[in-house]
């Protein structure tokens, strides 16, 4: 670094004539007077805040419709869970990409990965993205890495920044442990640091929002994990009107405090919603039937939670939280990208109950039945949780996982044999290591909404009304309607969507009580992603309460390849689609481009509270770990599933019997 010796030349000291006259006396005064006395300190308000940089103004209600506006709504795909270098952990993972980089990536441009290679989406740009950095110590690690910053002198920072994956792991553990023990130096929590980072998040969102083409949403992650049990939420704001600083888990780990704070924001015109994720890593805590203080959930809690959490992120790279095989033993497809460890550590989960969404929906029905309130009436989205600032990077054949240099190579994520070996003979992976954990991660998920146009207002409104669906990565489109008086030929009419909206409710909605002798009909419609596989079956997952007991059942309702649906077991025969594991090629003439049917629930009982959601399954295809192996010329890791069944989940429709 060059040494700069700056000397004022032009600066002139002007001496007053009177001072010259009384020079001697002044010297005497100067020698005795306290210099502080010369200027009495008067504290006044901070300098008037300058107007923030021009940001995308909310369009007034009467604004002209954007191109592509569709009263029957378009499907838009996005990612509402994205970390950049402003997150403490991403920075430790050597990620240096910014919120602007994240938006560039989502628009289809290439950005750099921490490991040194370039990354880019292959499936085309996304429609909407929220950058959601951890609010705790937001931006602080970046400042700590600046040798000129006082943060860099703190003992905890020493050895925190290393490109070596083992040292990264140690550093990550060190900082997370300090967070959990409340021992992070207070300098890290300087509001000025967080303020700068939060400003950066907002400015990047404002710069990249392009109504009609690409929507950005301002957001952040509330990172609560009491005893390591994951209670993380992403907070997503409706407009650029956001609080001065996020409400963080350092202020309170109790999500109820977050929701109360959000209520307070709402009262001041700041509208936001929170989306819990990785309930699979909560060890039963996320969807328990008690409050934070251990007392049973009451109506006030249920209202507070539902007001602020209309959605759950049910699938992401750290596993899928729809259901666990032990909770849904009769669901042959329940064992999908299951992660059975804590978040950010190799500790194993001991309690699956309370950690999965399907069971939470059932518990919600039970509470509704017994107590008259339901805290768990959630719609579904998926998202990536990328820490590489790479929204939507959940493509099996183009997967680089999510924690920078920690899992940036196939060897580090356990998909190829270590040390350049050509086989898996004699390779043992300790289940309590990072590699074992990264192996269990999946290339999943995306958030999808049905909205009139691609704008903040329209997309946020869709999130609020739960007209959303989740996918494990492919951009499948799912429609789901329920009603009592659809035209009989609904599924075959060209105006199917018009009729369905006119005569029914869609995903996220409530079906009114049935009149005598009527059973609801369900329009189930899945359409493939042209860049992904063909569809093998569409299913309806039903949960209901019968004699005080919550039950569930999975119905296949539409089969591919004109295969006959077995209406006793409600299962489609297998279409026999296979994958060639030596090339990952799939069979061309198996599966359908779309599955569409009008289905009537044969087990419908008008007195049973129920929910219904759709699951659409693709033919099997190579898992990311198999693609890694194929590129490496080695066999797939025998401990891992070589193929997966990509899928989409609609938000539920609820049925409430007459009181």
């Amino acid at each position: 670094m060059p040494t700069l010796d700056l000397k004022a030349r032009g600066t002139r000291i002007v001496l007053l004539a009177g001072t010259l006259l009384a020079g001697g006396a002044l010297i005497a005064v100067a020698a005795t007077a306290n210099p502080a006395a010369k200027a009495p300190a008067v504290l006044s308000a901070a300098p008037a805040a300058k107007s923030p940089p021009a940001r995308a103004a909310a369009r007034p209600a009467a604004a002209p419709r954007l191109p592509g506006y569709n009263t029957e709504r378009n499907a838009y795909f996005g990612d509402l869970h994205v970390h950049t270098k402003l997150s403490f952990d991403a920075y430790i993972f050597n990620v240096r990409a910014s919120p602007d980089d994240a938006y560039r990536f989502a628009k289809g441009e290439a950005i750099g990965h921490a490991q040194g290679y370039d990354i880019r989406l292959q499936g085309g740009p996304l429609d909407f993205v929220a950058v959601t950095d951890h609010s705790e110590y937001m931006g602080a690690l970046r400042e700590a890495d600046d040798p000129k910053s006082p943060l860099s002198k703190l003992p905890i920072v020493q050895g925190l920044f290393s490109p070596d994956h083992n040292e990264i792991a140690a550093a990550f553990t060190k900082i997370v442990t300090a967070m959990r023990q409340n021992k992070v130096p207070k300098e890290f929590a300087d509001p000025a640091i967080a303020g700068r980072a939060w400003r950066e998040v907002q400015d990047a969102a404002a710069r990249n929002n392009a109504p009609g083409r690409f929507t950005t949403l301002v957001g952040y992650e509330f990172t609560s994990a009491p005893d390591g049990k994951n209670l993380h939420r992403n907070v997503i704001f409706r407009t650029s009107n956001v609080p001065g600083l996020p409400f963080t888990a350092t202020e309170s780990q109790n999500p109820e405090d977050l929701w109360r704070t959000m209520d307070g924001w709402r009262a001041r015109g700041i509208e936001a919603l929170a989306i819990p994720h990785n309930s699979n890593g909560s060890d039963g805590l996320m969807f328990q039937t008690t409050k934070w203080d251990g007392t049973p959930i009451d109506k006030a809690y249920a209202d507070l939670r539902r007001r602020n959490e209309p959605l759950a992120e049910i699938t992401q790279i750290k596993g899928t939280s729809e259901t666990h095989p032990s909770l849904s033993p009769n669901d042959e497809w329940a064992n999908f990208e299951i992660m059975e460890s804590y978040i950010g550590s190799n500790k194993l989960i001991t309690k699956f109950s309370g950690g999965y969404v399907r069971e939470a929906l059932k518990d919600g029905l039970l509470m509704q039945e017994k107590h008259g309130f339901n805290p768990y009436k959630m719609g579904f989205i998926g998202s990536s949780d990328t820490h590489n600032a790479a929204p939507g990077s959940v493509e099996e054949h183009n997967f680089f996982s999510k924690v920078g240099r920690e899992d940036g190579t196939p060897e580090l994520r356990g998909s190829i044999p270590p040390g350049g070996a050509k086989t898996w003979d004699g390779v043992k992976v300790d289940p309590l290591t990072n590699i074992a954990r990264f192996q269990s991660w999946g290339a999943s998920g995306l958030a999808a909404v049905w909205a009139e146009e691609n704008s903040r207002e329209a997309i946020y409104a869709a999130l609020r009304r739960k007209e959303t669906f989740a996918t494990s990565g492919p951009r499948m489109k799912v429609r789901f309607f329920a009603g009592y008086d659809f035209p009989a030929d609904l599924a075959h009419r060209q105006d199917v969507v018009t009729q369905a909206y006119a005569h029914g409710v869609t995903m996220g909605g409530d079906l009114p009580a049935a009149t005598k002798g009527k059973a609801p009909q369900f329009l189930v419609w899945g359409v493939r992603d042209p860049n992904s596989g063909y569809l093998q079956r569409a299913q309806v997952v039903k949960g209901w309460v019968e004699n005080g007991v919550a039950k569930e059942r999975v119905f296949d309702v539409a089969c591919s390849d004109h295969l006959p649906l077995d209406k006793a077991a409600w299962r489609c025969p297998s279409n026999g689609a296979k994958v060639d594991l030596t090339t990952c090629a799939v069979e061309r003439f198996k599966g359908d481009v779309e599955l569409r049917t009008l289905w009537t629930d044969p087990t419908f009982n008008p007195k049973h509270r129920a929910f219904y959601y759709v699951r659409v399954l693709e033919n099997p295809s190579c898992r990311w770990s198999t693609w890694d192996a194929l590129r490496n010329g080695t066999p797939p890791n025998p401990k891992l599933a070589p193929t997966i069944v990509e899928r989409a989940w609609s938000s539920p429709i609820w049925y409430e019997p007459r009181a």
């Binding site: 030349r9 009384a22 502080a36 006082p150």
Partner: protein, 300 residues
């Protein structure tokens, strides 16, 4: 008559008067006296004027507001007293630190001052209202920014691959013949995307159906059925009912946006100019090893 004593008596009087007068006329005495007065005043002033730490009403409001923002409720009396006390201590420590020169050679203080200076000086230069010719010139240079892309209204009939790809194509071809002969019943399938678009861009069609479909839509003659066109979902017939070419808006319609862009541009130039002018007022010396001449100021 003894003039001696008179003279002698008068002389000292006259002499004393002369001495006092001389002393009183002596500039050094004036100097010392003025100095003494100033000295005494200063001592007195110093007693009267201990350094003051004053928390005014605006600051009080702000302290309360900060607290409330964090806690989501107003502070209690005790809490407010605590906040104020902390603020006073902070101010006193800061003043003492300045007195002891602790702010010198401190990189954080320096950086913060630089930030404040930049903050205070940026965007302050008065920028006079541009005339229409300046705005028009900027608009002509950047008109693409204000364009609405080409949009079209189209109808499509969809034949799903669920019929089987060959069967879908055959049905589509047969339907095309019927439609061209004036028939109304095309016999297509429902589709998850719109069968009628009132206002869609080629970009969106390319994204949703693939490039072949977008290319067909781009070149389709208005009002005539064409196809079958292949997509990832099956076969399509389409009729473009109308096009709205990319519209370059009239200058008048976007004048206010152009004006904002002009101001943003002018502000950026003014800020860059400010730094350049400041640079001129300083001589920069860089120790050997700094790579020679001073680098140019950063524009942003």
């Amino acid at each position: 008559m003894n003039p001696g004593p008179e003279a002698a008596g008068a002389a000292p009087r006259k002499g004393a008067r002369g001495l006092v007068g001389r002393i009183l006329r002596e500039p050094l005495v004036h100097f010392l006296a003025i100095g003494a007065v100033i000295f005494v005043s200063a001592v007195v002033l110093k007693q009267v004027q201990r350094p003051v730490v004053r928390i005014d009403a605006a600051e009080l409001d702000q302290l309360g507001a900060y607290w409330e923002q964090q806690m989501q409720r107003p502070p209690t009396k005790d809490e407010l007293r605590g906040i104020i006390s902390e603020r006073i201590d902070e101010e006193i420590l800061a003043q003492e630190a300045r007195r002891q020169g602790l702010d010198k050679d401190d990189i954080i203080v320096r950086r913060r001052l630089a930030q404040k200076m930049a903050f205070a000086s940026e965007d302050t230069a008065p920028i006079s209202e541009p005339d229409d010719s300046a705005l028009k010139a900027l608009f002509d240079r950047t008109a693409a920014v204000y364009e609405t892309p080409e949009r079209m209204a189209l109808h499509q009939v969809y034949f799903s691959d669920t019929r089987g790809e060959a069967a879908a194509r055959k049905s589509a071809a047969a339907a095309l013949t019927r439609l061209r002969a004036g028939g109304m019943d095309a016999g297509g399938d429902p589709f998850v995307m719109p069968l009628t678009y009132g206002d869609v861009t080629l970009t969106d069609l390319g994204r949703d159906y693939g490039e072949a479909y977008a290319a067909a839509a781009a070149s389709a003659p208005a009002g005539a059925w064409i196809g079958p066109v292949r997509s990832a979902y099956g076969w399509h017939l389409m009729r473009v009912d109308g096009r709205i070419a990319a519209v370059r808006p009239a200058f008048a319609a976007v004048r206010s946006q152009v004006r904002e862009a002009w101001f943003a541009d002018a502000r950026q130039k003014a800020n860059a100019g400010l730094m350049a002018r400041l640079r001129k007022r300083y001589r920069v010396e860089i120790a050997a090893g700094g790579g020679g001449a001073a680098p140019e100021p950063n524009a942003d």
